[in-house]
C-alpha cells in the first residue's frame, strides 16, 4: 500500500470512479489542463481525456446547473468549485433543483451529482478562501453533506458519494490536504454515507466534531488524557443525514458533550446536534452541552486566524469546564 495525503486520496477516488463508470464526468474551473487549484484532479485529463474532464469557464452557477442536467439525464457529474466561498451562486441550483428533483418527480428523475469544494481555514487566506458555511447546505432536505477528515475517509466517502443516487455536497478541509499521510488502498471500497466515526474511545466526555477540527480535537484529547480526562472523539463525517444514534449512545455513556466546529457559532450545525441532545438525552446529561466554534465574526486576516478558529487549547479548556461542572 502507498501512503497518501488527503488530496491524493481524492484524486485516487476520482480516478477509480472514472475507471469503473463511464458516466462519471469531472468538471470545474482549471480542473483539466491545470489539474485543479489544489491539484485534486491532477493527471485526470491525461488518463480520461478532455471530453470527460472538462475545464469550464468561471461560471459557478452554470457548473452546478449543468451538473443537475447531466445527472438528471443519467450521468454522474463530479463538479469542483474552487473554494467554498465561491459556492454561494450554486445554492440556487442545489436548493431549488438538485435537492428536489427526486421528490418532484417521485423518483422518475434523480440527481446523482457530487459537488466538491475545499473549505475551512488554515492556509492563511481570508474570507472567501477560508470560510466554513456547511450549515447553509445541511439545512436543505434532499442534499447529502459529507466532510472527510483523513485520506482514507476521503477516498471511501468520495467513492460512496459518486456512487450514491442522490446529490452530495462534499467539502474537503483544505488545511488537511497535505497535512498528514496514511496508507490508502485503492480497493474501491466505499464508506457508508450515514455513519459517524468514533476516532477515540473515552468514558468521561464525548467530543463531537468534523473536518479539520478532528485533528485539533485529538490533540486536545491527548492533553486531557495526561490530566486524567478520557474524551471520546466522534467524527461526524456525514452531516446530513446525521447518524445521531452514534452520538446519542456515546453521550448516554459519558453524560457530557462538547461540540467543536470551525464554522461560526450562531446557526452552525453544532446547534442542531445540541438541540437533538436536549430532546433525547436530557436525563443522561451531567452538564450542559457546550460548543467551541469560531467567533461570530468575519474570518480575519492570517495573524488573527489562530484567535478565530478553535485551537486545541480552547477545546481542552471547554472540556475541563464541563468536567468541573459535574
Amino acid at each position: 500500500m502507498t501512503e497518501r495525503s488527503l488530496v491524493e486520496a481524492i484524486n485516487l477516488a476520482l480516478s477509480r470512479a472514472m475507471t469503473e463508470d463511464e458516466s462519471v464526468l469531472v468538471l470545474g474551473e482549471d480542473v483539466g489542463v491545470d489539474g485543479g487549484v489544489f491539484r485534486a484532479t491532477a493527471g485526470l485529463i491525461d488518463r480520461f481525456g478532455a471530453e470527460r474532464v472538462r475545464d469550464t469557464p468561471i461560471s459557478e452557477a452554470v457548473i452546478a446547473g449543468v451538473s443537475v442536467g447531466l445527472a438528471a439525464a443519467g450521468f454522474r457529474p463530479v463538479a469542483e468549485i474552487q473554494f467554498m466561498g465561491f459556492s454561494l451562486t450554486v445554492l440556487d441550483q442545489l436548493v431549488n433543483h438538485a435537492s428536489r428533483l427526486r421528490n418532484r418527480t417521485q423518483g422518475r428523475l434523480t440527481c446523482p451529482m457530487v459537488l466538491r469544494a475545499p473549505y475551512g481555514g488554515g492556509i492563511h487566506a481570508l474570507e472567501h478562501h477560508s470560510e466554513s458555511f456547511e450549515a447553509l447546505f445541511t439545512h436543505i432536505p434532499g442534499l447529502r453533506v459529507v466532510i472527510p477528515s483523513s485520506p482514507r475517509r476521503a477516498y471511501g466517502l468520495l467513492l460512496a458519494a459518486i456512487r450514491d443516487p442522490d446529490p452530495v455536497v462534499f467539502f474537503e478541509p483544505k488545511r488537511l490536504y497535505r497535512l498528514a499521510r496514511e496508507e490508502v488502498a485503492d480497493d474501491g471500497e466505499a464508506l457508508p454515507l450515514d455513519q459517524c466515526v468514533t476516532l477515540r474511545n473515552g468514558s468521561d466526555l464525548t467530543v463531537v466534531t468534523w473536518g479539520a477540527m478532528c485533528h485539533d480535537t485529538l490533540m486536545a484529547a491527548k492533553t486531557l488524557e495526561d490530566e486524567g480526562i478520557e474524551a471520546e472523539v466522534i467524527d461526524v463525517a456525514t452531516l446530513r443525514p446525521l447518524d445521531f444514534a452514534t452520538i446519542l449512545t456515546s453521550v448516554e455513556k459519558t453524560g457530557r458533550c462538547l461540540i467543536v466546529h470551525e464554522a461560526v457559532m450562531t446557526g452552525g450545525f453544532g446547534g442542531e446536534i445540541a438541540a437533538r441532545l436536549a430532546e433525547h438525552a436530557l436525563m443522561s446529561l451531567l452538564a450542559p452541552v457546550k460548543r467551541v466554534t469560531a467567533w461570530d465574526t468575519v474570518v480575519p486576516y492570517p495573524r488573527h486566524e489562530s484567535h478565530f478558529i478553535p485551537s486545541p487549547a480552547r477545546i481542552a479548556a471547554a472540556a475541563r469546564e464541563i468536567m468541573e461542572f459535574a
Binding site: 474551473e29 482549471d30 489542463v33 491545470d34 487549484v37 475545464d55 469550464t56 469557464p57 468561471i58 461560471s59 459557478e60 452557477a61 452554470v62 466561498g85 465561491f86 454561494l88 451562486t89 492563511h124 487566506a125 481570508l126 474570507e127 472567501h128 478562501h129 467567533w295 461570530d296 465574526t297 468575519v298 480575519p300 486576516y301 492570517p302 495573524r303 488573527h304 484567535h307 478565530f308
Partner: protein
Amino acid sequence: MRNRTGRATRQMTQGETMARAATKSPSRASSATSATKRSTRSTKTAKATADVPSNEALVGYYKQMLVIRRFEEKAGQLYGMGLIGGFCHLYIGQEAVVVGMQAAIGEGDTVVTSYRDHGHMLACGMEARGVMAELTGRIGGYSKGKGGSMHMFSREKNFFGGHGIVGAQVPIGTGLGFRHKYQKTDRVSLTYLGDGAVNQGQVYESFNMAALWKLPVIFIIENNKYGMGTSVQRAAAGPSLAERGHAYGIPGEEVDGMSVLAVKAAGEKAVKHCRAGKGPFILEMKTYRYRGHSMSDPAKYRTKEELNKMRQEHDPIDNLRRVLMEQGVAEDALKKVDREIKDLITDAADFAQQSPEPDPSELWTDILVDA
C-alpha cells in the same frame, strides 16, 4: 505593418501599434489607438480624436505606471518573505489600463474592480503606504489590516473596492452608475472586470439593467488572456469580448491596453458617451499579466516565449519611456522619477512592516454598527 496614418493595418498586436506610431510620429499617436481585429458593425474600433498630451502629462502617466510596477514588484518580494498572507494577485503588465482610464475621468467619477486591485487603488490616488500595509495586515492599512489584498476601499478617492468574487463587482458598479444618474450628475462609474468574469451570469444581468435604464457605466474588460489558468479562447465563446453587450445595444470597442494613450483616448470617448446620457459602454482592453494569476500560480499554461515577447515588445512602461525620450525629455529627468518612485515604495514597504498588527479585539469590531 503600418501605413502612413499610423493606423494599424493588420490584426492587432498589443502595444506594438501604439509604440511604433508614437515613437515615429508622436503627433499622430492618438489616432493609432485602435484594435482593428474583428471589427463589426456594433464593435467599432477606437478612432481617438483627443489631443496628444503634453510632456508633463506624459511624464505623469509614466510615473503612475512605474509606481504600480515597483509597488507590485515589492509586494511580490514581501509575499515571498511570508509577510503577506492569503492570495496576492499582481497587476504587473496591465498598468496602462488603469492609468489611461484614470486620465480620462474626473472628480466624482467612481471606480470598482475585483481582486487584482492594487493598481486601481494607486491610480485612484490612494497612498502606497496604506495599500502595502493592508497587504501585510497592519493597522495602518486601508482596511485596518482586516481586508487584505482583495478588500480595500476609499470613500475620499471614490474607490468602491476591491472584491474577491469573480464578476460580483459588476452589479455593484452598475449600482454606482444608478446613483450617478439618480442624483442627476454627469458622473460615470468605471466598472472593471476580467476576461474570466465575462462568463458569469450576473455580468449580463448588469448589462441588461444598465442598458435598460441608460446608466452611465463603463464596463472595462481587462482581457489579459487568461482567466486563472484557462486561456480566453478555451473559456469564452463568440468573436470578441467587446461585443458581449451587443444584444443589449451597448457599444463596445477593443482597445490596445498596453498603450496608455490608446486607453486614455478610448476612455475619453466612452466617458463622453456616458456623460451625454447615452447609457453604458464596453471597453475591452487587450492587455497581459506578466505574473501568474496569484503568487501561488506557476503559470505553466503559457510559454516563456509568449511572456518574453510581450515584455520585450509591448511593455507599456518601456514604450512610453521611449516616447518620452523621442519627445526630448531628458534621461536624467526620468532617472530622477525612477529614484523618487524607488524611495516611495521603500517607504511604503517599511511602513507596512512597522505599522502595528491590529489588536485581536478588532475581530469583534465593525460587524454591526454597535458591535
